[in-house]
Symmetry: C2
Subunit: 352 residues, 2 copies
Amino acid sequence: PPDSALHVNKGIDAPETVNPNFVRKSRVLQTVEYYTNGILLGDRTILSQAFTIIESTKPEHQNLAQQIIADCLPHSGKSFRVGITGVPGAGKSTFIETLGMFLIETFGKKIAVLAIDPSGSTSGGSILGDKTRMEKLGTHANAFIRPTPSGGTLGGTARKTAEGIILCEAAGFETIFVETVGVGQSEIAVKSMTDFFLMLQIAGAGDELQGIKRGITEAADAIAINKADGNNITAAARTRMEFENALHLFPRRTHSPEPKVFTLSAYTGVGISDLWNFIQHFESEIKVNGFFEQNRHNQAVSRMHDTLIEALKNRFYQNISLKNKISELENDVKNSKLSPYEAAQMLLNYEL
Amino acid sequence: PPDSALHVNKGIDAPETVNPNFVRKSRVLQTVEYYTNGILLGDRTILSQAFTIIESTKPEHQNLAQQIIADCLPHSGKSFRVGITGVPGAGKSTFIETLGMFLIETFGKKIAVLAIDPSGSTSGGSILGDKTRMEKLGTHANAFIRPTPSGGTLGGTARKTAEGIILCEAAGFETIFVETVGVGQSEIAVKSMTDFFLMLQIAGAGDELQGIKRGITEAADAIAINKADGNNITAAARTRMEFENALHLFPRRTHSPEPKVFTLSAYTGVGISDLWNFIQHFESEIKVNGFFEQNRHNQAVSRMHDTLIEALKNRFYQNISLKNKISELENDVKNSKLSPYEAAQMLLNYEL
């Protein structure tokens, strides 16, 4: 594969470079083959360009995106996908930097980092999967880091990230991290597209927080108490015990190893290899007993329904004959002539 | 209105009580008139029962719910709706307890507290709007507190809360608080159904957190730094200055007063009345210049689209003739015969 390390930060605007296999082109849309071939060759600049197309809302981009995904699909599915959640301040970026570099240096793995940022749609800016926070990983030839797509709803952002996994797998990335932050829905989205779900915690995050996290704790395949270093070692060990006790309250797993709690320091690296050993053990267990495949299949069915619902919506709103009616009823709702519920019902009836 | 203070915690399972106007009935579904009359009389037990019906997923409940809402709609809209967001630990419950009791004791107002909990769908349990955390308000005859509906997606939960606002307004509640927690989507949902958006903060919540909150900061009509008491007063004042500086970076508002930053202590009550004065000032300004009405109208249009999309989805999945095809394609996706994207496209084509 061509060495595109120098272009990893440049996305679709990367300059053209001379390359033994082909000439990279930017700004102007290329053929499906251009993107698919580039991705299959592991070219990270073209991979970035394809991400930009996937994330675009322009119709001509969306059409091209669907074709690229369809062509990459047969080459996808071979990575192990690790979801990572954690409250702000839990040290997710440092953790991914340390674990990612460990996997590259120890096993020569190819690592991709994607993200789902639930705040994307308001701030317009993405903060997760930020290369500047993962200095070594962000410039390493074995790594591909893509910040969370900005704009759109959480559902839309999550869909794009799921499609991004397909591209990364087609490009040969073997371990894919999908990180998220916050409470609830974005974590469910990440769990719905990964094989292993890790919850990063720190000592003393407070009762209310842990209460909120109850559902997430139940979903976690492992919990890692980060920042177990310096003066914080005792507090981290205590937090680990608390989580171990909490995990006893949940029903035993039937299809995968029981979740485990770890203490580690992403800063010093202590505890990282123990956690990875567990993840590897987990992966081989669920591949042997069939749960890995079953889970992927169930995820695919959910993806079908999500895609369908999105398409239903698009079909309705792109129906030319309804456009006037929609604006007419919008006006009636604005002028309080109709309630939003009545207007929605009328639109639904008009379509039939 | 009947005194139902004793029943405020009991919801749909409240015992029947003798009442000069009517006899309350529970468990068994009643007529639309029963619920609507009870709500218009301000009966909080019947209001609770109606909430339970709205939150139910059973088809017979949903049908009844839509009729109750339609009958309450003409009597709704008269409250001032205040959205409140804040990270876990910011002291939202104590704040609402203190502000709510202040409004009751000073102005004799009727207060309703609703909530949107983004974690609802995983944990199955709701933690916001918890009466046990608002001891005085939870038992006061002028207050109605309803925890966040549990289960379902964030979108579904938010829709139910928006419908709950209609019922509370029809029941004569004059100030409605809608609280939420976390990052991003749930806050957007709350902003989409309120007139004033308050962000509760505490000193020293960390850079990353505030980074995430950037979008929310821009959406806030006021920011209150809570826990400005005891040793924390200096830190709170410093945090206030930081937020004041951050607010200067945003474009000036054209339709509403510039957002303000307050320090207060929900625990001691210091600063609560200053904040309320600002909220009142804000309310009268936007009512005079027309922005209040314009915002409500825009919210109604968004509600129309949300309701429509939900209905499109229901119509598709309730289409009997598609049921076999859906399970057939689910199987093909499970067995990797079709990609989720291909299967979704096929289903869409079958419907036509």
